[in-house]
Subunit: 409 residues, 2 copies
């Protein structure tokens, strides 16, 4: 049994006008692998990002937040794998800034126009010299059709690169969206991090970029969980280069705004789901839909309780329709006045529980059939309102323990 990984289709990785990408081998942690990426933006691009809520956030995350604060002027992204520059204190901040300066100097920019991203080992000093030494080769490699190489160059324990794209017509003009991501757990061992980068040539008013990236994250990367751990380095960045010749989008609720957001969200969801599919040790891709709640927040609470329960996750690994575990997780999700008698539970199309117990028509063979699939939908109907929420997660396997117990040894 293994989950479907959805590898990239090069034909849909559209070059984005105004974005050039270069990658190289800088030997940051391992030899003979691409580990350094530069993403160069033409003047005038809009950039917005969302970052980990972890208080132990990494140095590059702190620098990104500062450099994005003015709202304009970002011209380059610098991404390394092999070292997360997290848990590195003041030296880490100085190191992150130093690499920004090194790239900015070669491009005639100020350091504040560069965003740094790091993923890899935590609590080891960033090898600034090796990064600096790799910049020339990365810049020499810069071209528009390099998305797949970048997706490879940002991997850590990922088993496949993650890259998707889409096109949408706006005002009769084709607009392209391309994105890459990495991460095989919400946090990696010493290999911290979820990273996501998306670019579009759409013309979007800078004033809606922050709202756009927040809504995209909410509908994609904030809906996935592998092990419930939140990285020190999680970063998701959206770039708009304004090269497409449609009228500027000044509101996400306009027709054009909705069309663009739908295209972007589709790619963001594929990028996010690809991380779960490639989750550490994952053998199943599980969609948890919670409906009939009073608020989306309480639906999310229930979905997270189910998604994070080690007992539920091991039951999926075992293809065991052990429904009591799901009901128990719903019960301890923290909704104080939840009435079990109003709850219905479905595995795909199979109605398994109702009125506080097993559904009269349920037979274990039906549950077993669904549990054996590599893609499973768990649907919980709370029966107390009209709100809903969705999470994507994976199972918990022997391989997860092996990867995380053995990684450093």
């Amino acid at each position: 049994m293994s989950v479907h990984l959805n590898p990239p289709n090069p034909a849909e990785l559209f070059p984005i006008q105004g974005v050039r990408i270069g990658v190289t081998q800088a030997n940051i942690r391992k030899a003979n692998r691409k580990d350094l990426t530069v993403m160069l933006l033409d003047e005038g691009a809009s950039v917005a990002g969302v970052f980990t809520q972890n208080r132990f956030c990494a140095a590059p995350v702190q620098v990104c937040r500062e450099h994005l604060a003015p709202g304009t002027g970002i011209r380059a992204l610098l991404i390394n794998t092999g070292n997360a520059n997290a848990g590195t204190g003041d030296q880490g901040l100085a190191d992150a800034l130093h690499t920004c300066q090194a790239l900015a100097g070669r491009l005639g920019l100020s350091a504040q126009q560069v965003l740094p991203f790091s993923t890899g080992v935590i609590m080891e000093p960033l090898p600034v010299d090796r990064i600096e030494a790799g910049l020339e080769a990365a810049l020499a490699d810069a071209r528009a059709d390099n998305w797949l190489h970048a997706a490879e160059a940002i991997m850590t324990t990922d088993t496949v690169p993650k890259a998707f794209g889409a096109q949408v017509m706006i005002d009769g003009v084709p607009v392209s969206v391309t994105g890459i991501s990495k991460g095989a757990g919400m946090i990696h061992p010493n290999m911290a991090t979820l990273l996501g980068f998306m670019a579009t040539d759409a013309c979007i008013s800078p004033t809606v970029m922050n709202q756009l990236v927040a809504e995209l994250a909410q509908g994609s990367f904030n809906r996935i969980t592998v092990d419930g751990d939140t990285s020190t380095n999680d970063s998701f960045v959206v770039i708009a280069t304004h090269r497409a010749a449609h009228a500027p989008i000044t509101s996400l609720s306009s027709l054009a705004g909705q069309a663009l957001k739908t295209a972007l969200l589709g790619v963001a969801q594929k990028l996010a789901q690809a991380i779960v599919r490639d989750g550490e040790g994952a053998t199943k891709f599980i969609t948890i839909v919670v409906e009939g709640g009073r608020t989306p927040t309480e639906c999310r609470q229930v979905a997270e309780a189910v998604a994070h329960s080690p007992l539920v996750k091991t039951a999926f690994f075992a293809s065991d329709p052990n429904l009591g575990r799901i009901l128990a997780a719903i019960g301890y999700a923290g909704i104080a006045d939840l009435d079990p008698k109003n709850i219905d539970l479905y595995l795909d199309d199979v109605h398994v529980a109702t009125q506080g117990g097993r559904h009269a028509a349920y037979v274990e063979a039906d549950g077993q059939r669904v549990m054996k699939q590599s893609d499973i939908i768990v649907r919980v109907v709370l029966g107390r309102g009209n709100a809903s929420d969705t999470l994507w997660t994976c199972d918990l396997s022997h391989e997860y323990v092996s990867i995380n117990a053995d990684y450093r040894s």
Copy 2:
């Protein structure tokens, strides 16, 4: 590597005057094992309990809450293993009540004077006939020195029985405390539940019993976590028979009250810790102490984030001093204004992290030495107040996945 299990010492399992216990084989789920226990209380005993917060609470939990509500008159406990009577809807409630009636009828009591407890498979009908058929033999076995047999008869996937006792002098009178518990995860697969029963011959005013059981639970069973899952059936009951000839304890803050509570808490903590030591697949016993917080609640939040992190737990399993994982868990515990620079992290006596990074004097060999132990103390100092909290947990091993993935198959 394996954790020390602290098996019972029969010499410290003091008979409690006014409590008789009988066990038998009722073939509830498996043949040839003790699975039914009656605990008979002389008239006048005080009984109080705390129960799972899970909204999907089992039928016996609902019945216990109702029967305890009047505050007096409980004369018998009826405990079965093999079936949890959870997720069984209205029929489950009727079944639980039926078994209370069956026992009450044989003892000349009302059903309201019996407390029922069930642990085992979820969502299967309680085999009421087999329980009723076993009552005669259980009653015939009733005697004061039967605590060890009861500890065995309430086991599910536990690998050892859990029973401890203590004596304390109050007003020059020896007072005895004996308790038993079961559970090898906060919830078991289909074998739900943590159960804890303690009895003392102390003379305690009924008015302080609820406060006593709440404080004991808070200091013991509420401080343990194996996998973060909360059972449908968790129950903890304290019985006082008032047979010891000291002056009645009317306040827990009196000298006598403090002495008694200390003795009870010591036993409750051993019972709780024994559950973690026997945790599913556990190879390490880990004490997580969080100090220097503004409130005990925020200290608990941090301790839970560390204790529940699969990445931290697998690092303990691997004896890998992978400190970034602990720092990351502290960082995502949800304290919005936590300053990483004020945090110190210790493994036993080894100072591993300070000021947002590795401690200058820390060398990995020191961390490695502590991580190889079977008992480990993780101490987190938040540096923002004087509150503290403590949790006990275990590691996450291959064996945990095996037990929970393979249990029903």
